[in-house]
């Protein structure tokens, strides 16, 4: 087991596309780190550079204290799980799991023992004699996971392993992977484009866009304080409401005269405010706020998301199920004074008042010390609270 340290990673493909641009990242030993971003943001390329399946144009990758730049994938002692499970179709589940060990010429009795152990861990003991074609997607992915952990590698790399599963199964497997990682305490780098998956899995999340790391932090930290406009518009369901605001004394004024408290750093012009749906409230047309019209409602059971058109700006508002607005209703939207909006520089897209460099990007490996305890949501919350 060991951490993964990436310094100045850059990957340019022969056709000239730069997939990853100067990426620095410290992943602590035993951490479950999620790389999140839209497709084409360079997250998979980063993962493949760690794996040794791609070779970086420049920069260093260290696994533990070993510089692995020139090493082949097989020499890095890491295991990878793929989106398409890549099970060998002509081998039974058992042989598939045993394959990496046999490739390393591990003794037969030892192979059997370890295959049985990892099969048990993933609850697939009764599937071992089947071939992949006779297994469901979820079962195949379990076999693939067993194959990854049978080698007891220094780190796991997961390349969107749940994308091909249906929604219900995905949630089950998500829990399972998180549990497995916590139990084994092995470093894991998990790539996904699904922010819900990232939020629920990661000890920390790294958000990538256009080959660059936008922000690194604990899930709630990233949710509450998106460091850039991109992150603000990417994280959360719904994502943050983003709109132009102007300074007016101690307040900020948004669309339709919506008034927000002004954070100390928010001065000057060209400001964009980021406001979570739960920081806004809806009142009747005579209420004290910006008038608008409900254009869509999403009832989620325990809450309802209203989309309100305020002076040509769509605002998402999270309300308890007791709120009974209907599409077309004339309403007013107000901002709760106890929440301070995040304010961004409209040109640079960066959060005002934040460190110019993403504050959490570099964290000394010992400093984070996550391990199993960090999987505790209370701990993640506490983490985020300090930021």
């Amino acid at each position: 087991m060991s951490g993964i340290h990436i310094e100045g990673l850059r990957k340019q493909f022969p056709d000239g596309t730069v997939a990853v641009e100067h990426l620095d990242l410290e992943i602590a030993d035993g951490e479950l780190f999620v790389l999140l971003g839209p497709s084409g943001c360079g997250k998979t390329t980063t993962l493949r550079c760690i794996a040794g399946l791609e070779h970086q144009t420049s920069g260093d990758v260290r696994i533990g204290d070993q510089l692995v730049n020139g090493r082949r994938a097989g020499e890095r002692d890491i295991a990878m799980v793929f989106q398409f499970y890549a099970l060998y179709p002509h081998l039974t589940a058992r042989d598939n799991i045993a394959f990496p060990l046999r490739a390393q010429k591990v003794a037969t009795s030892e192979v059997e023992r370890r295959v049985a152990a990892s099969a048990e861990m993933l609850k697939i003991t009764d599937l071992l004699d089947r071939k992949p074609s006779r297994l469901s997607g979820g079962e195949q992915q379990r076999i693939a996971l067993a194959r990854a952990l049978v080698r007891a590698p220094q780190a796991f790399l997961m390349d969107e392993p749940l994308t091909n599963l249906d929604a219900e199964l995905r949630i089950d497997m998500r829990t399972e992977i998180k549990h497995l990682q916590a139990e084994l305490g092995t470093t894991m780098v998990y790539v996904t484009h699904d922010q819900v998956e990232a939020m629920s899995l990661g000890d920390r999340i790294g958000i990538m866009n256009g080959g660059r790391l936008e922000q690194v932090g604990a899930p709630l930290d990233v949710y509450r304080n998106p460091a850039t406009l991109f992150t603000a518009g990417f994280i959360g369901t719904p994502p943050m409401n983003l709109f132009d605001v102007a300074v007016d004394g101690p307040a900020l004024v948004g669309p339709g005269g919506l008034r927000l408290p002004r954070p100390a750093d928010a001065t000057g012009t060209g400001l964009v405010a980021g406001v979570r749906a739960e920081w806004l409230g809806i009142a009747g047309p005579d209420g004290d706020g910006a008038s608008g019209q409900v254009v869509a409602t999403e009832s989620l059971g325990d809450e309802t998301i209203y989309v309100v058109d305020v002076a040509d700006q769509r605002l998402s508002v999270r309300e308890p199920p007791t709120a009974q607005w209907r599409d077309g209703d004339a309403v007013t939207v107000h901002h709760f004074a106890r929440f301070e909006p995040r304010v961004y520089d409209g040109d640079t897209g960066r959060l005002l008042g934040a460190d110019p460099a993403p504050a959490q990007a570099m964290r000394a490996p010992g400093d984070a010390a996550p391990g199993p305890t960090t999987t505790d949501p209370a701990r993640s919350g506490a983490d985020a609270g300090t930021a």
């Binding site: 022969p14 399946l53 097989g74 793929f82 398409f84 890549a86 990496p100 490739a103 390393q104």
Partner: protein
């Protein structure tokens, strides 16, 4: 039904012609003749006073050797090339692929004269090596293009997984993708084989008597004082058998190969 009759009629006519003696051939009867296997004997045994194997036997062995070698070489070179084009980021891969394909744009007759001159000069005229080289070069574009499609269909993750397990790039290809490519390789090889087996233009211009393959040899039977139609038909029948047999043997793979992309994984 009518289409089937129309399509099969030439083959049927060839079959009955091969069983007729020369009078019956010119009588053009359908069933009213005495079947004879003399023509088939003449395909293999020389009609000259000395006896022995006929020239056609030499032509057949030439055809077999040249076809087998050219198909084998095209496959051996083309499959790894296709894999390379499919898996690696090659500078100007598209241009290279287009260039490879462009060698097939010209009809053989256009290039056959310069080739003839080159072959004379290089001592390749009327040699099996010469034809093998030529057919290999001619089959390669087809093999590369077709195989690239097949390789593209196979997820690279198989090889990635093998490389993670400690195999080298090439070992990963052999262990991971190659077994899954077999239907595609067979399908491609059958097409290469059929093309080479039936090729006429190059063979007629670039061979004399030593390396002559069957298609120009059969054509050579025509003309002269009289045309031995029975022999021509019998030779053609014998000539058609190997391809039919091979196609029949690999038909399962052939269909699997051709529908590869259409099947949901």
């Amino acid at each position: 039904m009518l289409a089937v009759v129309l399509m099969l009629f030439p083959a049927f006519w060839m079959l009955i012609t091969s069983l007729k003696d020369i009078q019956d051939v010119y009588a053009a009867t359908v069933f009213d003749f005495t079947p004879t296997l003399d023509n088939y004997r003449d395909v293999f045994v020389s009609t000259s006073a000395a006896g022995g194997a006929s020239d056609l036997v030499t032509n057949f062995s030439n055809s077999v050797i040249i076809t087998a070698m050219a198909t084998l070489l095209a496959t051996l070179i083309g499959v790894p090339a296709a894999w390379g084009f499919s898996r690696f980021d090659i500078k100007g891969a598209k241009d290279q692929l287009f260039f490879i394909l462009s060698t097939r744009f010209m009809p053989p007759v256009v290039v056959v004269i310069p080739l003839f001159v080159m072959y004379r000069w290089a001592g390749l005229y009327d040699t099996r090596t010469g034809l093998i080289l030529l057919y290999t070069a001619f089959n390669l574009p087809f093999t590369i293009w077709m195989m690239k499609g097949f390789v593209d269909e196979i997820p690279g993750e198989y090889e990635d997984a093998l490389m993670m397990d400690g195999y080298s790039r090439l070992q990963a290809f052999r262990q991971g993708s190659l077994p899954l490519l077999v239907p595609g390789i067979l399908a491609t090889a059958v097409f290469s084989m059929i093309f080479t087996w039936n090729e006429f233009t190059f063979a007629v211009f670039l061979t004399g008597s030593t390396a002559r393959t069957v298609p120009p040899a059969i054509a050579g039977l025509l003309g002269g004082q009289s045309t031995p139609w029975g022999l021509v038909a019998a030779a053609a029948m014998v000539f058609a058998v190997p391809v039919l047999a091979f196609g029949f043997l690999v038909r399962k793979h052939l269909v699997a190969g051709m529908t590869f992309g259409a099947v949901r994984r």
